[in-house]
């Protein structure tokens, strides 16, 4: 078999490929289910049912998708500019710490002001958390993959410190958790008696905004130009450094927003298990969507479906929930590989001997 580069990738291929990748990963999952002695079709039925089978299930999927959309956007916009921010997890916690500091009684405003204020504070904290990495990169060319990743550990250990120290809730009976966000700061439910909250709408509106910025503004143009070819952007009079710092701050800010939705929306208070790796999963979300902001909404919902559905599948069929991780990982890998392969034509026989 031989490969040959294509000049043009046909449009239908770019749509078909992610779908084929999803089917392929479900096939892999089915194989694993058979090994685990569970009938695959029935298991998938429970997976879908668990994610969409009831009002509560749908709400739960939406609630899970919320932080994933935001961390997906954080990764997506940074990767567009070829700034490899692996630190969304830490930036998420930075946002969460900030809203805990201002939102547990220190400041109390009416709801209509308090909620935007919390989002602003969370975004700022996320942006501040990424600043050291981007500055080190621009000044000393320190690899941002390393610094953003290591910042995660620093911030998470810092969270663990404040939860056992200054921010520890005296009423928590010794648990390392912070006090609850004041009532005026809690994000309202958008489906009654479920956990789906206002943050979901914020996430979708944010995705639309990022889509607009990337496609329709000069700033988005610069982000793409710097990402594709920073040297040509520089020669055309654009400040690569300024663009990079701004993109990084926006990326960190988006991850910070995810910290706000989880603290003020889902949980109501800060704990150490606020995020089961949303920051890292955001990278998968962004890659699955080929960094397209609208695509990120769909891929976040897809991943949320798998994770939420896998919980109920695991209960019903007595299989481990880790299958969800397998499906997600295989889907992302097969999408990435097949997106590369669409660039080529295939020859299965070497013609003429």
């Amino acid at each position: 078999m031989r490969l040959e580069a294509r000049d043009h990738v046909p449009e239908w291929l770019t749509f078909l490929v992610p779908i084929l990748a999803i089917f392929f990963s479900l096939f892999v999952a089915a194989t694993l289910l058979i090994i685990a002695d569970a009938p695959p079709l029935e298991s998938f039925y429970y997976l879908i049912k668990g994610a969409f089978g009831s009002k509560n299930a749908i709400a739960e999927t939406g609630a899970r998708a919320t932080p994933l959309i935001l961390t997906g956007l954080a990764a997506g916009i940074a990767f567009r500019a070829k700034f490899w921010n692996i630190g969304a997890e830490g930036q998420l916690y930075a946002g969460a710490i900030a809203v805990t500091v201002v939102g547990t009684g220190a400041i109390n405003l009416p709801s209509t002001l308090m909620i935007p204020f919390l989002f602003l504070v969370g975004a700022l904290a996320g942006a501040v958390a990424i600043l050291p990495s981007v500055i080190l990169k621009q000044l000393f060319k320190v690899d941002e993959v390393v610094t953003t990743l290591l910042m995660n550990f620093i911030i998470i250990l810092f969270v663990s410190f404040v939860l056992d120290g200054p921010l520890k809730d005296p009423m928590s009976m010794g648990w390392p958790q912070a006090a609850s966000i004041v009532d005026s700061g809690v994000l309202p439910q958008i489906m009654e008696r479920t956990r789906l909250h206002f943050g979901f709408i914020v996430a979708i509106v944010t995705a639309l905004m990022i889509w607009f910025i990337l496609g329709k503004t000069t700033f988005g143009f610069k982000i793409r130009a710097v990402g594709y070819n920073s040297s040509a952007a520089y020669h055309s009079g654009h400040s690569v450094i300024k663009t990079m710092i701004l993109v990084a701050c926006i990326s960190g800010g988006l991850a910070g927003l995810a910290g706000v939705t989880e603290t003020a929306g889902l949980k109501g208070y800060l704990t150490l298990d606020l995020s089961p790796g949303f920051g890292y999963t955001g990278i998968a979300v962004a890659m699955l969507a080929a960094l397209n902001p609208i695509g990120i909404v769909f891929s976040a919902i897809f991943l949320a479906t798998i994770y939420v559905g896998a919980d109920s599948m695991s209960r019903a069929m007595n299989v481990p929930t880790y299958l969800a991780d397998v499906v997600v990982a295989v889907t992302v890998l097969s999408v990435l590989i097949s997106l590369v392969l669409t660039q080529y034509k295939f020859y299965f026989k070497s013609n003429s001997k």
């Binding site: 031989r2 040959e4 294509r6 000049d7 043009h8 329709k216 503004t217 000069t218 700033f219 143009f221 610069k222 793409r224 130009a225 594709y228 070819n229 040297s231 040509a232 952007a233 520089y234 020669h235 055309s236 009079g237 654009h238 400040s239 020859y347 070497s350 013609n351 003429s352 001997k353």
Partner: protein, 502 residues
């Protein structure tokens, strides 16, 4: 090679091409960019599988699409862009891929002996233990040829081998090629430079739009005939109009800079004066500070001492955006890296430098997409950028069209100063003529133009004044008409600049 065809989608890159090379012959392959030269060579070398047709070497039909087999049966290729590992030595670069991966020792002694033999036989002087990154361009070229010869090949393909060599290095290369064919090798030489081909080849093959349009002995060819065959029509050479100098636009006064990436010696005591309506040509072997000079005038680097005045006003802050706003345009040497963004569309590339232009975006930063399209359409039409659609990625454009797009983008800004660094490197005859006429038109519009080039024919053809750059210094400008190629060639190698000039 018989009836080879290769299609890419709807584009036919090669159509029924047949030719042969005999032992000890130098075959030159000529053609415009996109005429199918590179495709053809890639077919021979096994990178591409032809859709039809066969290739035979010494009577044995070759399996198509098998690079290893091509190498084994004695085909060697020297690519236009070097394929060397910079951090390894000459010897290691030659041995890469030739020794088994799993083995305890490299048999370097024998290899070194063989390399010395080859280099002596063909006059390819090189130190086998030098690191590649310390080599000059000419030496790297020699290494590439040596690498090919090391694998005992019978047919050597040289793709644009003289693109970045000085006249003296080109002469050396041709001596090597001659000695190669004398010892029974065959050579296929791909080049744009008609003079060189007429000097060195035995037979000339001209391709146009993927077809062979001529296959003739060198003795029957002449420059005008070849140029016509290549483009399929007569090329109108732009005519040098008489210069009418206007006012002084840019004035550099004893400027020194610290070393930069492309120019390790920095700039030394540069005096330069650019006037509207004149083309100032700068000659020099690459890497003697030309790049730093361009970057300085583009506002990318700042001087350590000395001063730069624009229209009589001293400039103190150096940044690209400010210099662009003042009316300076810089057409960089590496158009695909510093000029266009290959993965963005032609339309986006047309407005890349125009995001502050109120025609392109509102002051608040919203793109006016319709105006962007109109702007791009205008550039493509006005400057003859040939493209299927504006939404095509720029990397699909040929070199000539990329350059026309870039120059057009700058000209639309109405710059007072244009710096063009190697504006026609790697372009074909038709595109070179187009670029030259763009520059000459800009000149008669009263713009001041600085052209940096290694191509002395080009230098003397379009410049009004010429100075030579050597080791970071610039000679005083001289009228182009009073200079001879040989004289400039000597100055380029630094021999007694003062005496030659005065």
């Amino acid at each position: 090679m018989t009836k080879v065809s290769k299609k890419f989608g709807t584009l036919t890159a090669n159509e029924n091409i047949s030719f042969s090379v005999s032992k000890g012959e130098i075959l030159a392959v000529l053609g415009e960019n996109g005429a199918g030269k590179t495709t053809l060579m890639n077919v021979i070398f096994g990178h591409y599988i032809p859709d039809s047709g066969t290739i035979a070497l010494k009577g044995v039909r070759m399996r198509s699409g098998d690079t290893k087999a091509a190498i084994k049966s004695g085909i060697g290729m020297v690519h236009q862009h070097f394929t060397l590992a910079e951090n390894l030595t000459v010897l290691e670069n030659i041995l890469i891929g030739r020794n088994p991966l799993w083995g305890w020792t490299l048999n370097t002694k024998a290899a070194e002996q063989k390399i010395m033999d080859i280099s002596e036989r063909f006059g390819l002087k090189i130190d086998p233990h030098a690191r590649v990154l310390d080599l000059s361009v000419g030496e790297k070229q020699r290494l590439e040829i040596l690498k090919t010869l090391y694998s005992n090949c019978d047919l050597v393909i040289l793709d644009e081998p003289t693109a970045s060599l000085t006249p003296q290095e080109v002469d050396n290369l041709f001596v090597t090629i001659q000695s190669m064919v004398k010892s029974g090798l065959s050579v296929i030489l791909i080049s744009h430079k008609l003079d060189e081909i007429l000097k060195v080849s035995d037979r000339i093959l001209v391709l146009r739009h993927g077809k062979v349009v001529a296959d003739m002995a060198r003795v029957k060819a002449n420059k005008a005939l070849l140029a016509e065959l290549i483009v399929g029509r007569k090329i109108k050479r732009p005519i040098q109009k008489k210069a009418k100098f206007t006012s002084k636009v840019l004035d550099l006064n004893s400027i020194n800079t610290s070393p930069t990436q492309g120019s390790p010696m920095g700039l030394k005591n540069i005096d330069l004066e650019l006037r509207g309506g004149e083309i100032h040509g700068i000659a020099g072997v690459a890497g003697n500070g030309q790049r730093a000079l361009c970057e300085l005038i583009a506002g990318q680097i700042k001087p350590q001492s000395g001063n730069l005045a624009y229209k009589g006003v001293l400039v103190n802050s150096f940044n690209v955006k400010k210099f662009m706003a003042m009316g300076i345009a810089y057409i960089p040497e590496d158009r695909n890296i510093d000029g266009v963004i290959g993965d963005m569309s032609i339309q986006e590339n047309s407005v890349l430098s125009e995001l502050n232009n109120p025609k392109i975006a509102t002051p608040r930063g919203f793109l006016l997409l319709k105006e962007c399209v109109a702007y791009a359409k205008n550039i493509c039409k006005k400057y003859d950028v040939r493209t299927q659609s504006l939404s095509q990625p720029a990397r699909l454009l040929s070199g000539g069209n990329v350059q026309k797009l870039l120059i057009g983008r700058w000209l639309e800004r109405n710059p007072n100063v244009i710096i063009a660094c190697q504006p026609t490197r790697g372009l074909d005859e038709g595109a070179i003529a187009a670029v030259h006429s763009m520059l000459l038109n800009a000149k008669s519009d009263g713009r001041a133009i600085l052209v940096v080039t290694e191509d002395l024919d080009e230098l003397l053809l379009i410049s009004d004044k010429v100075s030579v750059m050597y080791n970071g210094s610039l000679t005083a400008a001289k009228q182009a008409k009073k200079l001879e190629k040989r004289e400039i060639g000597l100055m380029m190698t630094g021999s007694k600049i003062e005496e030659t000039i005065r």
